[in-house]
Amino acid sequence: MYHAYILKELRHHRHRTLVNILGIAVGIALFVSINAVSTAYQEAVSLPFKNLGADLVVQRAEKRAVNSSQAGPSMRGIRLPFSNQLLSSDDLDKLRIFPGIDAMAGSLLLWNFDRGGFRTIMGVDMSQPSLGPVHIKEWLAKGRFPEKKGEVVLEKHYAKFNNTQLGDPFTIGSRSFSVVGLLEIREGAQIASTNIYLPLADAQDLMGNESKIVNLVYLRLQNPSRLNQTKTEIMQSMPGISVASSDAILEVMGGVSRISDQFSLVVSLVALAGAIFLIIKTMLGNLVERSREIGILKAVGWTGGDVQKQLMGEVFLQSAVGGIVGVAAGYLISYLLGYLAIPVTTPWEVNLLPAFAKEAGAAAQTIRLPVSFSVGLTAAALALSLLAGGLASYFMGRRMAKMKPADILRRL
């Protein structure tokens, strides 16, 4: 292989080289962007759970009022959400020793209805510092997180709407609290987003001094790859319990998320295959255009293998450059798409708001696609670009082998 010859050929036929490189780049860019966006989509969907450090959320729904869309006249004062009835101490004991559970944290979600509307309250278990709604203390905008009973943190917009500031007294039911912090809810916080956060003991007091009660349990698994198995095992051994994971969000979102989950690789490979087909067609077309040159090379003593090596050098160089440009373009497109906010729908069972608070039974929150660089995807894209070059070389070699120098030179 004569490297200077390769470079001179590619430089001399700039237009042809550019078309080939762009062809590969477009195919690779499609492959990278579809996969990167798909992965980001999966990431976005799993964000609500990731933000809590939880793999599973366990709860028990009220039997008679599942997914009710109307609030009856009896819904006054502080009460449990329909989907979050109290978990018994038996339930908690079973979960604590359930095989494959790494850590467990509980919280008590309450709804408070009064004349002015409703508010959501979350009693936070402070004993587990890295699991459950306690994570949201990272989102504090002002003040601090509650350290003792009688202290609350308010969601910033809720506090503003109610003209409440840091240090102000705050009443829930008949009890008085002090506002010690304001926090700003971030993206992907659907399953921990309430108006008021207070220590679990205070929330339990609000429910009538019932100690050690919770209605939401967050589980972290020792082996997250066993998520579905563990989920099924818990539901089988504890009748009436519902167990949610990020899959629940994926299920209610349907459409694009399902496509991105199941078909992104196929779609991107089909796009890439289309691009490769066009590249091969273009390169084979180039071969016809270059038949004179091939005839000369063969006439002066180049074997078929010598000519093919030379052409392969050109093809692989174009493939490599096209691959690199395609990866860069693919990530650029993906990062630009990452600026778009996508709605992530929360299924009713893990939605903390009353069903009537939204028009639909499920709440949607927008999340920016968390596009990130993947070494694996980049390596796969570059390997595919070289594979495209290999395929093009193979077909060029077959076509070129049939070219007889005498036939070519006779036509000149």
Partner: protein, 223 residues
């Protein structure tokens, strides 16, 4: 092979394309160091015969021996290697690679051979110097005149120290003066270096400068 001094022998060579017989049972022999012209009208089959004798093309029938080796049964790659080591070509339309400089065009047959770039360049430069083109080493073919291009092509034909040079209408694309200069070079190669040359031409006057003239008509060699 009938005679040890015959470097090129053709026996009953024939070539047909479908129903069309282009070469019809030609037998000939060219001795080492001989300059032979194959002259005939356009379309009489002389270029096809040259292609068969040089190993560019397989005959439909017959045998060809070049430098003691039968080339008619060889594969494409075997023929390519054989041409690289034994044959030099000069074409009417020069057939230079437009993206390569003059010296690189000359060194083209050497690229597949394990050889340092410096050595390739040295050999190409030496030949271009003999062709009085030392000042044109880095020029692309597009920057050369017709005569210069053909001199580069002659240098390329000589780079592998061939046993025989096949020249197909070497002056066909050149004006008379330039054509004469090219013929002078070919004659010089033959006389001074003892190069065996088989030249195809349709110009009788040009053919006469050779040691021997073979006339071809309707696919047959008459004399």
């Amino acid at each position: 092979m009938n005679n040890k001094s015959d470097i090129l022998v053709g026996i009953d060579l024939a070539k047909t394309y479908g129903e069309l017989a282009v070469v019809k049972g030609v037998s000939l022999a060219i001795r080492e160091g001989e300059f032979v012209s194959l002259v005939g009208k356009s379309g009489c089959g002389k270029t096809t015969l040259l292609s068969i004798l040089s190993g560019l093309e397989h005959p439909t029938r017959g045998q060809a021996f070049l430098n003691g080796k039968e080339i008619t049964g060889a594969s494409e790659d075997e023929l390519a290697l054989f041409r690289r080591e034994n044959v030099g070509f000069i074409f009417q339309s020069f057939n230079l690679i437009p993206t390569l400089s003059a010296w690189e065009n000359v060194a083209l047959p050497l690229f597949p051979i394990q050889m340092s770039e410096a050595e390739r360049r040295r050999r190409a430069t030496e030949l271009l110097d003999q062709m009085e083109l030392a000042h044109r080493l880095e020029h692309l073919p597009a920057a050369l005149s017709g005569g210069e291009k053909q001199r580069v092509a002659i240098a390329r034909a000589l780079i592998n120290h061939p046993k025989i040079v096949f020249a197909d209408e070497p002056t066909g694309n050149l004006d008379t003066a330039t054509g004469d200069a090219i013929m002078a070079i070919l004659n010089g190669l033959h006389r001074k270096q003892g190069m065996t040359i088989l030249m195809v031409t349709h110009e009788s006057e040009l053919a006469k400068t050779a040691d021997r003239v073979l006339h071809m008509q309707d696919g047959e060699v008459l004399s």
